[in-house]
């Protein structure tokens, strides 16, 4: 069993900027030297609602990108969807606001030691960490192709700068308002063959991850996915965020997605048992 991310620390951090991007907010937050320890796939856990808040739990957000030497020091970028009260509060925090953050948390995407062909698949705000990941993979000499999907155009997050490290980017929306009409999972089987994909990296809704895993099963493709379970603590002490995962011997146990994830080997996750008692 993995332990808590050894780099994790609790800090009070400044919001450098907050910009609306489609239906999301892009927050840049000054986290100082901690930026150097963040890896693609890691997440941050943030207190929400301020001093008199009735919300007692932190909210988890994937780190989209870090910049170790921005003019305002080490920063991280988050892409936040205003969903419920907590994320809406976060989206309302302007420049200069101070946040209580624990970062970096969780596992990171594994980076191949050889330059290989990889496919990155993102759903909704799930694309956020993929652009930072693409840069790292690109620097390793990997060829990076990317698929992004969402229900509608405004839920596609695909920043211009992000595309530099990507060889090809295809966008799917269910309502056809951007890119192809349909689901992001549709072309995957074809691409695996055509492009000789070695690794799929995915981040998005659980149903998408599960569908990708079904496609990858039976092929040689490694599937690294970033799962998203409800988390009460983010640091491994509450056991609420568990998923049924098999070990090498096939023994299934409930692993904490905040410590043994969010990035997991998709082939070990027991997708059919998620949300059921073992």
């Amino acid at each position: 069993m993995a332990g808590i991310n050894k780099n994790a620390a609790q800090i009070r951090a400044n919001v450098v900027s907050n910009k609306r991007v489609g239906q999301y907010h892009q927050l840049i937050i000054n986290i100082g030297d901690l930026a150097q320890t963040c890896r693609p796939g890691n997440f941050a856990a943030i207190s929400v609602g301020g001093e008199n808040s009735r919300m007692v739990l932190r909210r988890a957000f994937a780190i989209s990108r870090v910049s170790a030497n921005s003019p305002s020091g080490g920063t991280m970028e988050l892409i936040v969807a205003p969903h419920g009260q907590g994320s809406k509060w976060l989206c309302a925090q302007g420049e200069g606001a101070i946040l209580d953050i624990v970062v970096p948390l969780g596992t990171a995407f594994g980076i191949p030691t050889e330059p290989v062909q990889v496919l990155l698949v993102g759903g909704g705000y799930g694309s956020a960490p993929l652009f930072g990941l693409a840069e790292v993979l690109n620097a390793k000499g990997c060829r990076v192709d990317m698929l992004l999907g969402a229900s509608t155009a405004s839920k596609i997050y695909a920043p211009m700068e992000g595309k530099r490290a990507v060889n090809s980017l295809r966008i799917y929306t269910e309502d056809g308002s951007m890119g192809q009409t349909g689901r992001v999972t549709e072309p995957i089987a074809g691409l695996i063959q055509d492009l000789n994909i070695a690794v799929i990296y995915s981040c998005g809704p659980m149903a998408m991850l599960s569908a990708i895993d079904e496609i990858a099963r039976g092929t040689d493709v490694v599937h690294q996915c970033a799962v998203e379970e409800s988390m009460a603590c983010g640091i491994g002490i509450c056991m609420t965020c568990v998923l049924p995962v098999a070990d090498a011997d096939g023994n299934i146990s409930m692993l904490r997605s905040c410590i043994d994830g969010p990035v997991m080997d998709g082939s070990f996750v027991q997708w059919d048992k998620v949300g059921k008692a073992l």
């Binding site: 332990g3 808590i4 050894k6 994790a8 620390a9 609790q10 207190s47 009735r54 919300m55 007692v56 739990l57 932190r58 209580d100 624990v102 379970e229 409800s230 009460a232 603590c233 640091i235 491994g236 002490i237 509450c238 056991m239 609420t240 965020c241 568990v242 998923l243 049924p244 146990s253 409930m254 410590i259 998620v274 949300g275 059921k276 008692a277 073992l278």
Partner: protein
């Protein structure tokens, strides 16, 4: 600066500070040591361990509620043998003080667990979590039944002998908490842990069904603090000689002092650590400062203070 004796005792166990983790809210203790030195707090109360390994309940296992949360973990854990082999040695090595929490489905299982603990060194006390369904009695929670509660504690007491303090952890979901408290004390408990979570439910309005995998869950956090303070006060009023580990919604030093004034000899902190990994250390420091500011020279003087007549 005034000197303050911040130590406390639960039965014959001594602790340098009165602040503990709450069972099930600190995993094995390892995770928190990323954020502070775990031997600096009063002690670690470990997650309730059962005889066999257990996978626990289906997800979702939690729901946030106003100033609180529901959980339905279902006592996921590795089982006592793996726990004693892996988790306890780590805590001992860290020089943390350790209270082991045990849980069972039958009176017999509790006794068996106690037997396994008898020879383990480095343990300060046993917390017996009796808020578990009794499989021998239609799943009725032990802690909801005076007789079943007594039998569990009696079994543990006989097995463990007289050395290790036994702390019985009670549920607030009962009509007459005091009589259950008296019953377990009669049966051999040296102390009481008050309170376990309050039974609650959240309906998910998307599915229009209970949100939690386990349907109902345990309510914890600041929302239940007034219930916990009342429980501690009620029990301390009747059996003031029995030490109480108070818990339920404690999030800052003032909350801790309320609980101590109500009659607790120590406090456990659960949900607050989820929102703030260093909560226990802040609470410990704030409590110390508050006691000093109020002119106390020992924690002991403040225990049960709220029971004194107005004139004093």
């Amino acid at each position: 600066m005034t000197a303050l004796d911040f130590s406390t005792t639960l039965g014959n166990a001594w602790f340098p500070a009165p602040t503990f983790t709450a069972s099930g809210c600190a995993s094995s203790g390892r995770e928190l040591s990323q954020f502070f030195d775990i031997k600096a707090m009063g002690g670690v109360v470990t997650k309730s361990v059962m005889l066999k390994a257990r996978n626990g309940r289906a997800t979702p296992r939690m729901a946030e509620t106003p100033s609180g949360m529901l959980n339905s973990i279902g006592l996921q854990g590795p089982g006592i043998d793996a726990f004693l082999a892996k988790d306890v040695p780590y805590l001992v090595e860290q020089k943390a003080r350790i209270i082991i929490s045990i849980a069972g489905e039958t009176v017999e299982e509790y006794s068996t667990l106690a037997r396994k603990l008898r020879s383990v060194s480095g343990i300060s006390a046993i917390e017996v979590n009796i808020s578990c369904p009794n499989v021998e009695n239609r799943g009725l929670v032990f802690a909801c039944d005076t007789e079943a509660s007594r039998r569990v504690i009696d079994g543990v007491r006989r097995t463990i002998g007289g050395e290790l303090p036994i702390i019985a952890k009670l549920s607030p979901d009962v009509t007459d908490l005091v009589s259950i408290a008296k019953g377990v004390v009669d049966a051999g408990a040296d102390g009481l842990a008050l309170i376990n979570t309050v039974l609650g439910m959240v309906i998910n309005l998307d599915t229009m069904r209970p949100h939690l995998g386990g349907k109902t869950g345990g309510l914890s956090g600041p929302a239940i603090k007034p219930i916990a303070v009342r429980a501690v006060y009620q029990v301390h009023a009747e059996i003031p000689q029995v030490p109480i580990l108070g818990m339920g919604g404690i999030s800052n030093g003032r909350d801790a002092l309320e609980m101590i004034a109500a009659g607790a000899s120590g406090v456990s902190i659960g949900t607050a650590s989820f929102g703030n990994p260093t909560a226990i250390m802040s609470i410990q420091n704030e409590l110390k400062d508050l006691l000093i500011a109020k002119g106390f020279t020992s924690l002991r003087q403040a225990i049960g203070y709220a029971h004194r007549p107005e004139s004093e």
